[in-house]
Amino acid sequence: MFRLLLKKELKVFFTNKGNLAFILFLPILMISIFSVALGNYIKADYGTFEEGKVLYYEEDASAEIMNRFWIITDKIADATGVTFEQTDDYEKAQEAVEASKAYGVIRITEEGFDYFRSTFNEPEGGELVRTLFVQLANANISQPMSIQNIKLDAKQLDSKIYYTFSALAFSIMFMGVLIANSVYNEKELDTIERIKLSKAGIGGMMASKILTGICCGIVQVIVAFAFSNLILGVNWGNKLIWIVMVFILLILFSAVFGSVIGMISKNKSMCQSSVLMFSMLCGYMGGSITPLYLLENMPVLTTIIKISPLYWTNQALTSLYNGIVDEKTLYCICILIGLSVLVSLVFMLITTAGKKKFVSRKEAASV
């Protein structure tokens, strides 16, 4: 039964040429436009050390330790061009790091060095400098220190890469509009009444809509993968499975959100515009238009953007692209699953508590 439900869903969905074009071309269009038009945003900062700076704070440091510090930092400064700047307020320095004003702050004590960095905001350059610093600091003192054999293997992030991921995520969010529409259509056509009377019920219908969304989303990912690989020459790296998993969870969230909005909307324009607005907002705040590191440097935004699921997705994707599976990936997975569950629960609550008031067009007219 479910197979037929899904089959019909896909059939109806894809007889609409608009839907088909949307699925196939939106990711390509967005990736191309964003990476060309907004390319300069990214190149200037990500992956270069220009204007990069690391703060340091002296606390009971012996002359010997300080000496060692100078040797290390000189080498790094030579190799990368970042500057080291002294600070006398450790807490202020930490705040500056959180606000992306500096790569990190090194606290120098009797025991050695303590490198502080931001968990969420550390840019590529910062990550490299930190790796160098830690390696040099741990190196055997008696041996001459060299950074010749330190491999700088973190990939440089450029606009093509950044927008391959973030624009794809953005277009996946937009797919919610199509799902919302398709759910709303069932109400408009009154076919939902037939479905309600049958064994499948609303649950079966919603499940098939969500699954349709997931199929469409996967097609989008495949299209974007092919396009970015073949045309833009972007290699998705060796954490492909993880990247795909993050995308699938994002698709799940977008489809669940869309179908619930389609179900509770009382008219078509409300249904479409609310999903559209939500997607736009998520996209803007999640760094799909303006890159994340710029948003993070803006005073109020830096906190607000964290409510966008795309913020977490883009964070995770950036790490995963660089081959790092870290807490960002974990947060992203939890947040996407959590939000999907939350939206479903809220829907179940309002439909049972509100005596299905929102479900039926027949009843909706009277609410």
Partner: protein, 313 residues
């Protein structure tokens, strides 16, 4: 044994009472017609029966006292508003709705084919339903509701706005379905349809039952009335006295006068015309035109309720 029984059903939308204490029972193998004007509450009643609308009070129970949730697989619903996918072909539409009841494979194919034949859409089975005429869509709408062989088929004005051929086909189908053992609940505001296919009739208005019974019951209460329309030459004779005298006859149910035109309602088969002609002569009236009319829905209402049918919406 009743297959559906409704007791004292009430449903209002905000302060508008759509169904007002309606009771109704439908026995097995009946073709039960619900007759009522626009806005009488027919669709609302059906939606309550199906559980698609929550009702305020009353009970709806099916065979063995089951609720609509438990019994809904035995119900076939043909909604007033078309409920089909215009993007899909009739075959796909029927197959989909039938599969929702758990049918699959060969069985599903056979059922779909039979339903297509039944409503006469086999020839166009692979065209898009969106391109069909109104009548074809109505027939498909019906096929989608019956392919799973329900025991009770609820049809809400299935013949609204269609050509006579499609209409006749649908009426024939209703009869055939009934002969094959299905119970049918049929709503309409069109009397001839009810006469043609129903054996039980319930007349409703303002959400209330006005009359219910077997076809012959109801017919004897209203259908046997006939209306005599007489036009007199202007200015000749005493029309007021004539009207007064006619209204004294106990068999005359209703008389209406507008200047020199009179409408007199009386039961069929009663030799009334003679008496009336006698009176016209007595009152020195001269008849210009006289004709007998079958009563319309409005007039049936009038004779059942004694009040005018309110404006059609």
């Amino acid at each position: 044994m009743d297959i559906l029984s409704i007791q004292n059903l009430k449903k209002s939308f905000k302060d508008m009472v759509a169904v007002d204490g309606l009771s109704l029972s439908i026995g097995e193998k009946e073709v039960h017609g619900i007759l009522g004007p626009n806005g009488a509450g027919k669709s609302t009643t059906i939606n309550c029966i199906l559980g698609l609308l929550e009702y305020d009070s009353g009970t709806v129970s099916f065979e063995d006292g089951k609720s609509s949730k438990k019994w809904s697989k035995n119900i076939g619903y043909v909604p007033q508003d078309l409920a089909i996918y215009p993007e899909l072909t009739p075959t796909e539409n029927i197959q989909f709705f039938c599969s929702l009841y758990g049918f699959k494979g060969e069985e599903l194919k056979n059922r779909t084919q039979r339903a297509l034949e039944f409503v006469g859409l086999t020839e166009v089975k692979d065209k898009k339903a969106g391109e069909f005429s109104g009548g074809m869509k109505r027939r498909l709408n019906m096929a989608c509701g019956i392919a799973h062989s329900p025991k009770l088929i609820i049809m809400d004005e299935p013949t609204v706005g269609i050509d006579p051929q499609s209409r006749n086909r649908i009426l024939e189908n209703v009869r055939a379905l009934n002969e094959a053992g299905a119970t049918i609940l049929y709503t309409t505001h069109y009397m001839p349809e009810i006469e043609e296919i129903c054996n039980k009739i319930t007349v409703i208005d303002h959400g209330k039952v006005i009359a219910t019974g077997t076809k012959s019951d109801i017919m004897s209460r209203m259908g046997k009335d006939t209306e005599l329309l007489i036009e007199f030459s202007e200015g000749k004779g005493n029309i007021d006295q004539f009207v007064h005298q006619v209204s004294e006859f106990s068999d005359v149910h209703h008389i209406e006068q507008e200047k020199w035109i009179c409408k007199i309602r009386h039961p069929k088969n009663i030799v009334m015309i003679d008496k009336i002609i006698e009176l016209t002569i007595k009152n020195q009236l001269s008849i210009q035109n006289i004709k007998n009319q079958e009563p319309s829905l409005e007039e049936i209402f009038l004779s059942l309720t004694g009040k005018e049918l309110r404006d059609q919406k």
